[in-house]
């Protein structure tokens, strides 16, 4: 069991955990956190898989992908948080109702 697989498994674990949290919580802030945890899981997997052969210099392309991914995730989170604030002021609470239209 080398560390590479450990990272990968942790990544998959984070992804699953995030997915679970996303589905069962109705609070929006928790959902956003859950999404971010999922994202971290994916990035972890990407970085872990970049080291293809033991000891060699890791492949730089996944690192570039992770950086891009982090940028996207940050902006997505910013947008999500802005929306949460708006939802809260309009609706009064930061939950998703079951049926939003009629």
């Amino acid at each position: 069991m080398n560390t590479l697989y450990l990272y990968t498994i942790v990544g998959v674990g984070l992804f699953t955990l995030g997915l679970y949290a996303l589905l069962i919580h109705s609070d929006l802030l928790r959902k956003i956190l859950a999404i971010n945890i999922m994202g971290s899981g994916v990035f972890l997997i990407l970085v872990a898989l970049a080291a293809r052969t033991q000891g060699a210099v890791p492949d730089p392309v996944p690192h570039a992908m992770v950086i891009t991914g982090i940028v996207v995730a940050v902006s997505a989170t910013a947008l999500a948080l802005a929306l949460v604030i708006r939802v809260r002021t309009k609706v009064g609470h930061a939950n998703l109702p079951e049926q939003s239209l009629e």
Binding site: I35, V87, K90
Partner: protein, 465 residues
């Protein structure tokens, strides 16, 4: 980007850019038609390291319909987002977001590697969410929120699949991947992840639950865009992956998609029929129409792909026209309750005509684009002996007729005009009508787009059918 800086000139600027993009697409179209598929390496790096732009017949068609719809939406929006209807602060946000979305769409249709597709998909999703939230009401905000979460979730699934594929084959380029790919457990897992992420975004039944609310609560031009183009974008990626990367001999999976598509047609149709609000009706109609696209998978023949693509194109035009018409009606009468339409619809003949013509295409009656697509799908279904698909396609058309005539019937009543009406800018009515006419004309010029689909043909493998 410029439009953040120049709020006064924003409309003019928007239109200029729109015209510019259309010209560029036309030029590209000429190039592809003359010279075949084009590849352009940004920064000169080239595959497998750099970012490539790639255009073949499929992307060209998507770009063209994109250009037409977006130009229409731009013109429409100059009327829609004016001071009388929208607070100025909101309206000025529309244009930059809108240009952003359009850029993301164009980039997406031109991308040739799967990570670049991820980035454009995210850009697309984020700008779409922001546009939905523009409407500002509680409904719009919550559905924007839901839409955002769905988008991120779908993208993450997709990204995880990308990671696995990269690990396995060391490349992101679609062409390179398609040469190296071979069935293995890792590929199956990657395929499953990417597929579920994309299907979530394409709103295939049963993952359609987020779509009606998001599409119905957005401002009219935005709804038009979402239904016409944004869901198609993830379908486009899915189609590319399915046709070029994944091993095609997975017929069980194809059957499953077909069954889900069939259920979507029924469910969407029945739900559309039950709606009391026009925009919800149109949104459910989108769910049903998306189902048609997936009917091609169990047949997987040349005609079937072409039929599905043709439905995609004509639906893009028709649905835009329909949402615009709904926007006009909403603006004119102040509501979109279908049962109170008798005071409203007959006083907007142009809008009614737009809705009716778009409806003809959605129902798949001749001579519209929808008819051609349906004909091709039907023929493919009969050729492959899959009669259950024939029945689905037929019933879907009848359901569509039912929910569309439910609305059109009100155009022929003789009730008196409702007193609280507002004038609708004439260009809003005309844009809707012209796009609807385009959806009809698409049926009469069918050989032309069908020929474009053959350029750099992604489905050449099965061209024998």
């Amino acid at each position: 980007m410029l439009s953040f800086l120049l709020p006064q000139r924003v409309k003019l600027l928007g239109l200029l850019i729109a015209a510019g993009v259309v010209a560029a697409v036309a030029a590209l179209g000429w190039q592809v038609a003359e010279l075949g598929a084009q590849r352009y390496a940004i920064g000169g790096w080239g595959a497998p390291l750099g970012i490539d732009l790639y255009a073949d017949g499929l992307s060209l068609l998507m770009l063209m319909v994109n250009a037409v719809v977006c130009l229409g939406v731009s013109v429409y929006s100059t009327g829609y987002f004016n001071r009388a209807y929208f607070r100025r602060s909101r309206a000025i946000y529309f244009w930059p977001l809108w240009m952003f979305l359009w850029a993301a769409l164009n980039a997406l249709f031109l991308s040739s590697d799967i990570f670049n597709l991820y980035v454009t998909l995210e850009l697309l999703g984020l700008s779409a969410v922001a546009l939905v939230a523009l409407a500002g009401g509680a409904d719009a905000l919550t559905s924007a929120m839901r839409y955002l979460l769905i988008n991120l979730l779908g993208s993450l699934f997709y990204l995880l699949g990308v990671a696995l594929l990269y690990h396995r084959f060391g490349s992101l380029d679609i062409t390179i991947l398609s040469q190296h790919i071979e069935p293995s457990p890792a590929v199956w897992v990657a395929m499953g992840l990417m597929t579920s992420g994309l299907l979530l975004k394409t709103a295939l039944f049963p993952m359609h639950f987020w779509l009606p609310a998001a599409h119905a609560s957005a401002p009219a031009p935005v709804s038009a865009l979402l239904s016409a183009l944004v869901v198609k974008a993830s379908f486009y990626i899915f189609l590319r992956l399915w046709l070029e990367i994944f091993p095609v001999d997975s017929s069980v999976f194809g059957e499953l998609l077909g069954v889900l598509g069939a259920i979507a047609i029924f469910w969407g149709g029945v739900q559309a029929l039950r709606q009391t609000r026009l925009k919800m009706l149109i949104a459910y109609s989108t769910v049903a129409q998306l189902g048609y696209l997936f009917l091609a998978f169990p047949m997987a023949s040349y005609f079937a792909w072409k039929g599905a693509l043709f439905i995609l194109l004509s639906h893009a035009l028709a649905k835009t026209a329909m949402f615009m018409a709904a926007g006009n009606i909403l603006h004119f009468g102040g509501h979109d309750r279908i049962q109170d339409f008798d005071h409203v619809v007959q006083y907007q003949p142009l809008t009614s005509a737009a809705f009716a013509l778009a409806g003809i295409s959605i129902m798949g009656l001749p001579p519209s684009g929808g008819f051609i697509g349906k004909w091709l799908l039907l023929e493919a279904a009969i050729n492959s002996g899959q009669w259950w698909l024939v029945i689905i396609i037929i019933m879907g058309g009848l359901l569509a007729a039912a929910y569309i005539f439910k609305v059109i019937g009100y155009a022929f009543t003789q009730s008196r005009k409702s007193h609280q009406t507002r004038r609708v800018p004439i260009r809003m009515e005309w844009t809707a009508l012209i796009l609807a006419i385009a959806a009809i004309l698409l049926g009469l010029i069918a050989p032309w787009p069908l020929a474009i689909m053959d350029i750099g043909l992604p489905f050449s493998g099965e061209a024998a059918g």
